[in-house]
């Protein structure tokens, strides 16, 4: 039996070790070594650089706003979908999932059509007489955030639908028959029971926004975020040491966010 497991697992294990674990350990490790000695110089350089700190701060801000927007938009939709009949539910879920399986380049491009100077939004606002001159939305941080919300909204919707489906509808009926209004039944029953899904969904969206490259690069214009800054250092400037340091910082933030959110989940729901 033991031999069989090894034979089945060996290709996967070797593959992941050789092309995932080893490259990442080398990349992270190399940031702490300079001329054969341990150093934190690279990190001190970046954390002392206001230009980098500004990029980092903007990235965190964009990711936070994106996450909050996804929760606000995704929550009611997920609740609506989870209470539909089987056929309607599959149709709505398929619509929500469709963009998820489409290239992020194509999705960014579709926002360029909508947000551009001669785009759908500007033309509609002019036709309605709300504005006279087309607005500059494309290539701004706002366009980047719209693109990111669009990119990650399906993720939070599916995660929440998964959790909400398992909430016993009798619980809501019970709350309502005990005199709770529909809204307060929603607030006191559905919201607390959806917290695990909300946390998983938020991690996916936050980390996704923090590390997304295509959308900020195409929609954000001159606004740099940490991912585009990393790419610039690695490919345009060929400064692999700085790129490795930025990658390590990015990874540390990613894991810290996951750890903190899991901690919150465990505190809220110890049996979880």
């Amino acid at each position: 039996m033991k031999k069989k497991v090894l034979v089945l697992l060996l290709p996967g294990l070797l593959f992941l070790t050789a092309f995932m674990l080893v490259p990442i350990v080398i990349t992270v490790g190399s940031t702490f070594v300079h001329d054969g000695a341990f150093t934190l110089e690279g990190y001190m350089h970046f954390f002392g650089d206001t230009f980098f700190l500004k990029i980092l701060f903007t990235t965190l801000e964009v990711s936070l706003v994106t996450t909050l927007m996804c929760i606000v938009l995704g929550f009611p939709v997920a609740y609506y979908i989870s209470r539909r009949g089987r056929r309607q539910k599959s149709l709505l879920l398929a619509l929500a999932i469709f963009p998820l399986l489409t290239s992020s380049v194509v999705r960014s491009f579709s926002w360029m059509i909508i947000l551009g100077k001669k785009g759908l939004l500007n033309n509609a606002l002019i036709a309605l007489g709300l504005i006279k001159e087309p607005m500059d939305i494309l290539y701004t941080p706002a366009a980047m955030m719209i693109g990111l919300v669009h990119l990650f909204l399906p993720l939070i919707i599916i995660t929440l639908v998964g959790v909400m489906e398992n909430i016993d509808p009798d619980l809501i009926k019970a709350a309502e028959s005990l005199g709770a209004s529909r809204f307060s039944a929603f607030r006191k029953v559905i919201v607390p029971l959806s917290v695990p899904g909300l946390i998983i969904g938020s991690i996916l969206v936050f980390v996704g926004s923090l590390t997304a490259y295509t959308t900020p690069a195409l929609l954000g214009g001159k606004q740099k975020v940490i991912s585009t800054f990393l790419y610039q250092n690695a490919i345009t400037l060929n400064d692999w040491y700085s790129a490795s340091v930025i990658a390590t910082i990015m990874m540390a933030i990613t894991f810290a966010v996951i750890a903190i959110m899991n901690k919150i989940a465990n505190t809220l729901n110890p049996k979880g």
């Binding site: 990442i24 080398i26 398929a94 579709s110 360029m112 759908l120 998964g162 959790v163 990874m251």
Partner: protein
């Protein structure tokens, strides 16, 4: 609950529209007769579709991406299915760690995988080669296959296999006649998912392509950074149609709600 126009229903309608409408604007835009992007589109023509064929960089990168994605799908499915089977069937020490390692490309941001793999491949001489790109694409596709196989096996009853052994069947027979039919939907969806993961990838490819190995998403990406014309719309429309075909197959083979159900989202 069943009122036709509940406020919740209206919000849901608007949000779902927000999710799908960007993709819907691409097709009308691709049919425009003018040289710039505008919506609503002006005039009607198919010129932007015929112009794709005059641009070898798009045709070549499309064929290249198809080849890369197909190879990735085959290798990732093989490796992922073997690992998934082993993880589900046998309890052994360290199986949690192995599971974590196999699924790690889902947690580590793709951009970091890209740079780390580039630095590593430069050392061993694989940077900018087809092999390097293929290996990286397999790497990011394996976890999806593993996860789908694990979900597909979650209700598998091993007494079926044991019964076959008792009846005297050889291990290979047992695998082909018992295990494989049950695994088929999961393996097929895994393969489609691996294909799409490779075909759509930008972030990892970004670091590993060379002038002779450019994928379609990257060709579109670099074209978009230089000029925005309806040509991008016609190519995007074709990419959307291709995704749609695969989504329909996935829905038929596996069921989208099962594919994205909360159970398969361990992270």
């Amino acid at each position: 609950m069943s009122r036709k126009f509940s406020p919740l229903g209206i919000i849901a309608f608007i949000v779902v529209l927000f999710v799908i409408s960007p993709l819907l604007v691409v097709i009308p835009t691709s049919l425009t007769s003018v040289k710039y992007l505008s919506f609503p589109p002006i005039g009607f023509s198919l010129q932007w579709y015929s112009k794709i064929w005059d641009r070898p960089e798009f045709v070549d990168s499309f064929l290249f991406s198809l080849e890369l994605a197909a190879l990735t799908a085959v290798i990732a499915t093989l490796v992922g299915t073997m690992s998934g089977l082993a993880l589900h069937k046998y309890r052994f020490r360290g199986s949690g760690t192995v599971n974590g390692l196999l699924l790690s490309p889902l947690t580590v941001p793709a951009l970091i995988i890209g740079i780390a793999v580039l630095l590593f491949f430069t050392r061993i001489g694989l940077a900018g080669t087809f092999t390097g790109l293929l290996l990286a694409h397999v790497l990011i596709s394996v976890p999806y296959v593993v996860r789908l196989v694990l979900t597909g096996l979650s209700s598998f009853d091993y007494t079926l296999e044991r019964a076959a052994y008792i009846m005297g069947a050889k291990p290979l027979r047992v695998f082909i006649d018992i295990t494989l039919p049950i695994l088929k939907p999961a393996v097929m969806s895994g393969m489609i998912f691996a294909f799409l993961t490779s075909f759509d990838n930008v972030t990892v490819s970004l670091f590993l392509v060379s002038p002779t190995t450019t994928t379609l998403p990257l060709a579109i990406f670099s074209h978009m950074q230089e000029s925005l014309d309806p040509l991008v719309a016609s190519i995007s429309a074709l990419v959307i149609l291709l995704s749609l075909v695969f989504i329909i197959i996935l829905e038929r083979v596996y069921g989208l709600d099962r594919l994205f159900g909360s159970n398969s989202h361990s992270h």
